[in-house]
Symmetry: C2
């Protein structure tokens, strides 16, 4: 049976939401896997006592230290060896757990994952991707979204290769399609790094490692012709955070406009309420919680990174994501493809 | 009286829209300035004949060649000396015109502006900014949006300095506020270029050249705390094009959702029509045509760049923008500030 280590202390609503999501995952799945919940006993135990845990495949592991959002990633891993973050990853390293899940300090989790688990053979730089909404069916992932800001062409190519494998084996996409995010469609556009990356991506395509459709531009992302959008971490992080801010921005515009219509008598209150409900559901494509989190691609183990504001539902889905990554042997496939001639 | 040279051949809807916009500007302003319309006589003259032009302060100049969207920027300026683009800029160089306006090939216009007009003293790299919607009152400009993809820290600082001057003198913003677009708020975040740019921006702030609020992130753009968002041309171009694609993306989601409500009987057709109208007006903050175009900042002359899909209204507003840039002496202020000790 698979064992998944869960960081009880990670996230804005930890440990309460993490505990709730963990219990839900075990209940909903019928104890399909075992969970080791890691955190400060004095904070986790009282909350855990509120649930009927006897029937659950759940173990608790005390970790006296906590890595906070304020901790500096590179130092946290060294100074907080007794944190839930480091202990959870060590369980993976020692094979006592098959995966680790956290919604805590992303930078610290990346640094600790790299430090404790190391890289898969052949990987230059591990990376993090994100989900993006699209007009067409299916899904779009953008990579990198902040783990690597100074990228070399060969890094970008590996991101595409790793995400192609993830999408193929982990997300069931038969033919993942890679586009290089650039300022124009034509070959030869963009920075020196992008020009070189274009050439290397074409080579990777010729070798059958990816399916490369060339340069794409900002307005192509939502169209969804590419399932994989490749860019450096600065561009990806900016687009991701910008995208996340849109529902709130438009929500406030929508609310104002609707109120003006109601107060001027052009729309009745009942219709306004129906429309407001509709507007909210419109943003379901932007709901990233259904995926919960994303695996940190390229490390020698499974470390799932969640959004700081993860709800219990997000935590539950991160646990399922961990299970999925293990079962689909995504890491084994990455190592295999990256080490082909 | 000011003279503005207008490229009749530039833009997806040229020359018809350009002619219409030019006539409107002269009519609406009561011939406040003189316009020299430049283009192929056989294409422009017949369309121009449809208007009552005798009372207008309008001159026509024949240019047998046309720079198309497909032309390579760097070569177009050399091989198409008899194009409306090059001729228009030459009128500025020889002081026969005070400004040039075009909605044609942006890259070619940049290259030609630099080649014909040269740089203002002290300018390392001319730049192009764009307008962005925001929640709060006022306006947000993002710079650079594609003219410079490989930026050094000192380029980014000059972009902020030039745009500060433009906003102060050209847009009437008393205290323009600069933010550096990055992956995190703290100093020390981001690429090596951004780390160094942060330091130089702080120095420029200390000298009173800009008002720097530090790093901002993708989700801060729409909030509008910064009136100037500084980034390299790759990030800016991507965010700009991504942003431009949002109304269409959400419009299609909105339409589908609304139709489902109507067909299920939850909303009557009349209310649906009212709501659809409201949804369209909601996107007015995204309407960049009210500005028409933007000046190419840092060249020794006024060259206004418009969107390829400019309507006659956009052309008219670009002409007003040109007039404004001349009257507010923005270029003189840029040269002055950049050459201070």
């Amino acid at each position: 049976m698979l064992t998944i280590a869960v960081d009880a202390m990670g996230g804005d609503h930890a440990p309460a939401c993490v505990i709730e999501g963990t219990v839900q995952a075990l209940q909903e799945s019928g104890n399909r896997f075992k969970i080791i919940l890691i955190g400060q006993a004095e904070k986790v135990q009282p909350l855990l006592a509120e649930y009927e845990t006897k029937t659950l495949n759940l173990e608790f592991l005390h970790a006296p230290e906590v890595v906070t959002m304020e901790d500096i990633p590179a130092t946290a891993v060294k100074t907080k060896q007794d944190s839930s973050l480091v202990k959870g990853l060590q369980l993976c390293k020692s094979k006592e757990a098959n995966a680790f899940v956290s919604a805590g300090n992303t930078g610290a989790q990346m640094a600790a994952s790299l430090f404790v688990l190391g890289r898969l053979p052949g990987v230059i730089r591990p990376t993090i991707y994100a989900y993006f909404p699209r007009i067409s069916e299916g899904l779009t992932n953008i990579v990198d979204v902040g783990a690597n800001v100074d990228c070399k062409p060969e890094h970008l190519v590996q991101f595409a290769e790793m995400l192609t494998i993830y999408q193929r084996y982990g997300a069931g996409i038969e033919k993942p399609v890679t586009g290089l995010l650039n300022i124009g469609e034509e070959e030869g556009k963009g920075s020196e790094v992008l020009k070189q990356a274009y050439k290397l991506l074409k080579e990777a395509d010729a070798k059958g490692k990816i399916n490369f459709i060339g340069n794409i531009e900002g307005h192509d992302i939502l169209k969804g012709h590419a399932t994989i959008v490749v860019c450096d971490g600065l561009v990806g992080n900016t687009i991701l955070k910008f995208g996340e801010s849109i529902p709130e921005f438009l929500g406030s515009l929508f609310k104002q406009s609707l109120e003006a219509l109601v107060s001027s008598g052009k729309l009745d209150k009942q219709s306004a309420a129906v429309t407001t409900g509709m507007f909210k559901t419109m943003f379901e494509p932007f709901d990233v919680e259904k995926f919960g989190g994303v695996p940190f691609l390229g490390v020698d183990g499974i470390s799932i990174v969640g959004h700081g504001r993860s709800s219990s539902r997000a935590i539950k889905n991160m646990i399922y994501m961990a299970e999925h990554m293990i079962e689909k042997r995504v890491n084994e496939h990455i190592a295999e493809v990256l080490n082909e001639a």
